[in-house]
């Protein structure tokens, strides 16, 4: 193999490796076990999130009705989202906190906002009981997974 060939091979390898490097290095987490319509925020709005989609920090992951997904951080932390939840990928929190937020929700604009918390008006105990009373199996109204199973190893 002459020098020219080696140089061309190196250039080709670099060209091929660049997207891979971007794909691997362009995020801090990925999606796993995508079921239904899962949306991830991008520069110009929301787009469908597919299996193994890479997620940069501050990406919002939104599940629609009937959807489920697991957000897998590169450090091994796994956060399961059920239907109608939204979760912001952040790295400055402990995995347990992220899992808890996905399960029990937080006030809007915080990471891991459970839609249940969003849809049940603050202080609306009667309304909340009315909503829960409908008894539909939806995370929107249960508030969280009734039998939480933290997936995180952390």
């Amino acid at each position: 193999m002459n020098t020219k060939t080696i140089a061309m091979s190196a250039a080709l390898a670099a060209a091929l490796a660049a997207p891979l490097a971007f794909a691997q290095g362009g995020g801090v987490a990925r999606l796993k076990d995508v079921k239904g319509n899962v949306l991830v925020s991008q520069q110009s709005g929301l787009a469908s999130g597919g299996e193994a989609s890479r997620l940069p920090e501050h990406t919002r992951v939104i599940t629609t009705a009937g959807a489920e997904v697991i957000v897998v951080y590169d450090n091994g932390c796994e956060v399961r989202l059920l239907e109608n939840q939204r979760f912001e990928v952040v790295v400055d929190k402990a995995c347990a906190a992220l899992v808890a937020e996905s399960l029990f929700g937080q006030p809007p604009v915080a990471a891991g906002v459970g839609i249940a918390a969003l849809l049940i008006p603050a202080g609306g105990a009667g309304i909340a009981s009315g909503v829960a009373g409908v008894g539909i199996d939806s995370t929107l109204f249960r508030g969280a997974n009734p039998t939480p199973t933290p997936l995180s190893p952390n």
């Binding site: 319509n37 949306l39 520069q43 110009s44 709005g45 929301l46 787009a47 469908s48 939104i62 629609t64 009705a65 009937g66 109608n84 939204r86 809007p108 604009v109 906002v113 839609i115 969003l118 849809l119 049940i120 008006p121 609306g124 009667g126 309304i127 009981s129 009315g130 909503v131 829960a132 009373g133 409908v134 008894g135 539909i136 939806s138 929107l140 109204f141």
Partner: protein, 395 residues
């Protein structure tokens, strides 16, 4: 007693009986032969002035007189004898379980007795079978739903996906029920339809007007068909390739007639654009009223850039038009966050862009095409303008 006298007595008795029956029927039925029956919220028959003995006699002559049973139940209940009232209603229900007034009367009775679990399925069947009963019954159902009564019964009713559910949501929403209570019901419907419906429009709008923008946006996402979810931009359908639904966070073209608004909106096929279609707004030269097209956005605070293509054609007789982004509070557009350049005159397709800074405390916005007013406060415009490929990006 002679035979003649005995015959006369029988005739008199028969006449008396006939009179009784006719008298009862006159009370039970109107001049058109329709029964004067209780409706939900109206105990007209139960309040009819017929004494118990007359009703009992009518039932002895015809035990199948449902109306008499209902009236008798009303008499018993009003005198505090709920047990006898219940027996009379049970008898009516045994005879005619699908009859409108039986369902209504039994359901009302059960509600008055506090037995919501028994009343709910009856109300379900009532509104399912008799659409004319919906206005009153929907109000009762809405009240029960708001109070969170009998969740298991509700669940069973919803599991069979009743046909009246959509109308119930609209009715309750328009009456002002908290939209959050209606969302579970709406989501029960949307997975199958996955399309904008009057009920989703009402619930989303009421969430939005009450400044619950994230909830509104989430519910709206659930109404989009799968193929439309592949790319939900900050500006939805900025390519104008799809007909706008006019709901939620989609484009909302004016519904006013051109002669009233001074403009018209189309998304026709166009030359020289990406895709096949573009937005065209035509102005008729008269005073402009309202906004030709708008879209609600739910942008998080931060910096964004909006870009697009524009092609004005003879935009004259005024100061032109511009895209404006305003904060929306309690359903009303308020302060301006950003505006595009002003579009006037004529020209070929050209690129335009402007920056937007969404401040904190502005969870919802509206992007709309506004006509610039002259010094007298009015806007007069003629000509037309095309737009395509509106894209909003996070900077």
């Amino acid at each position: 007693m002679s035979v003649a006298a005995r015959r006369a007595a029988i005739v008199v008795f028969a006449l008396a009986l006939v009179w009784r029956v006719l008298h009862v029927n006159a009370v039970l039925y109107d001049d058109n032969g329709r029964p004067r029956l209780p409706a939900v919220g109206q105990n007209s028959a139960a309040e009819a002035n017929v004494d118990r003995e007359t009703l009992r006699q009518a039932l002895r002559s015809n035990p199948g007189q449902i109306d008499a049973l209902l009236m008798l139940a009303g008499r018993y209940e009003s005198s505090g004898d709920a047990k006898q009232a219940s027996r009379a209603l049970d008898a009516a229900y045994q005879l005619a379980p699908d009859e409108r007034n039986v369902l209504a009367a039994v359901a009302e009775f059960q509600l008055r007795q506090g037995d919501v679990a028994r009343a709910l399925p009856l109300l379900d069947r009532l509104v399912d079978t008799y659409p004319e009963m919906r206005p009153g019954a929907f109000e009762i159902l809405g009240q029960l739903l708001s109070e969170g009564r009998e969740p298991a019964t509700w669940k069973r009713i919803l599991a069979r996906k009743p046909a009246w559910l959509g109308l119930f949501i609209v009715s309750s929403c328009e009456r002002g029920m908290d939209p959050a209570i209606l969302v579970p019901l709406l989501l029960e419907r949307t997975p199958s339809s996955r399309s904008p419906t009057p009920e989703s429009a009402c619930v989303i709008d009421r969430l939005r007007v009450s400044d619950r923008w994230q909830q509104a946006y989430q519910v709206w996402l659930n109404t989009l068909p799968r193929e439309r979810l592949s790319e939900v931009g900050f500006v939805f359908n900025g390519s104008f390739e799809f007909a706008p639904s006019g709901q939620g966070f989609d484009w909302r073209p004016t519904r006013a007639l051109e002669r009233d608004s001074g403009h018209s909106v189309e998304m026709p096929q166009a030359q020289g654009v990406s895709g096949k279609r573009a937005l065209r707004v035509s102005y008729n030269g008269k005073r402009q009223s309202g906004v030709p097209i708008a879209q609600y956005l739910a942008l998080a605070p931060g910096a964004y850039g909006l870009s697009g293509l524009a092609r004005p054609l003879s935009i004259t007789a005024g100061r032109g038009v511009e895209w404006t982004l305003r904060c929306v509070k309690a359903g009303t557009p308020s302060e301006t966050i950003a505006t595009s350049e002003r579009f006037v005159g004529s020209g070929d397709w050209r690129h335009f862009a402007f920056e937007i800074k969404v401040p904190a405390g502005c969870p919802g916005q509206v992007l709309q095409l506004e006509a610039l007013a002259t010094s007298d406060g009015y806007a007069y415009l003629s000509g037309s303008i095309w737009f395509d490929d509106l894209v909003l990006r996070h900077l």
